[in-house]
């Protein structure tokens, strides 16, 4: 079980989502992906996508306009 950090600060939509999708493909079940974002749309479309895929998802607001999306790969 490993943790992967993905820094997407300053990235415009949809780059955080596409990067996260690519990262998730390389990861194993039980691994955790932590995506740092400051794009207000990504804090919605990234969790929406991951939940749709059936992963465990949490969104944490880490600062003003900054979030961490934590995704646990379950399948």
């Amino acid at each position: 079980m490993k943790e992967v950090m993905l820094d997407c600060f300053g990235e415009a939509c949809p780059i955080p989502l596409v990067k996260a999708q690519n990262k998730m493909k390389e990861m194993d079940i039980g691994d955790i992906l932590i995506v740092s974002i400051d794009h207000s749309c990504a804090m919605k479309n990234l969790p929406d996508w991951a939940r749709g895929e059936g992963h465990n998802v949490e969104v944490e607001e880490t600062g003003d306009g900054e979030w961490e999306v934590v995704i646990e790969k379950v399948k």
Binding site: G10, A12, I15, K19, M43, D64, E66
Partner: protein, 185 residues
């Protein structure tokens, strides 16, 4: 000062605040509210919502600031256009509405305490912004509008042009996506 902080905390942990001012709304809520105010806009201003039309006026005003003149341009030749240019920004409804849109989004992020300046991160972003802006500007002008004026308002106005715009917009977005992944990511 501490009581002020406490009051702030009380407000920001209130469920009504969290639901309406902090959390993202479902997309469908957005669709319903946008439709409502589109309809209100048509009913009160006799025209649907548009965004890009005023940009040409902004261009003309900036051009005039540098001593240029658009009097001979076909696009600005109508009497209505000339009057709009003469009366200036604050009297141009579309221009004021665009300014309002910027400030409305600002208000939304401030109320959610989520405002943050996002600086440009790379040269790629500069190229993407310049090229994307130019393509959108030119495209919107010759196609009579953008996603709002030509697509949303066009289709809702029962105009065939809105549907044609939508089909080729979709094809353009696919090409744009390929370029984005290849060069701008």
């Amino acid at each position: 000062m501490s009581s002020f902080k406490e009051t702030m905390k009380k407000i920001t942990s209130n469920p009504v605040y969290v639901k309406w001012l902090k959390d993202a709304w479902p997309y469908l809520t957005g669709a319903i509210l946008l439709s409502l105010f589109q309809i209100v806009t048509l009913a009160t201003t006799y025209n649907p919502w548009g965004v890009t039309g005023p940009y040409t006026n902004w261009g003309a005003w900036i051009f005039e600031l540098f001593g240029g003149s658009v009097d001979k341009w076909y696009y600005f030749s109508s009497e209505g256009m000339q009057r709009t240019l003469e009366n200036g920004f604050l009297a141009d409804g579309g221009s004021v509405r665009n300014a309002g849109l910027i400030l409305g989004a600002l208000l939304a992020v401030l109320f959610a305490s989520q405002f943050k300046i996002k600086k440009i991160k790379s040269k790629k972003q500069v190229v993407a912004a310049v090229l994307g802006g130019l393509l959108m500007g030119y495209g919107a002008r010759i196609a009579y509008g953008c996603n709002i004026g030509a697509l949303y308002s066009g289709i809702a106005s029962l105009s065939l042009s809105g549907w044609v715009f939508g089909i080729f917009l979709f094809l353009g977005a696919i090409v744009g996506s390929k370029l984005l992944v290849k060069y701008f990511m």
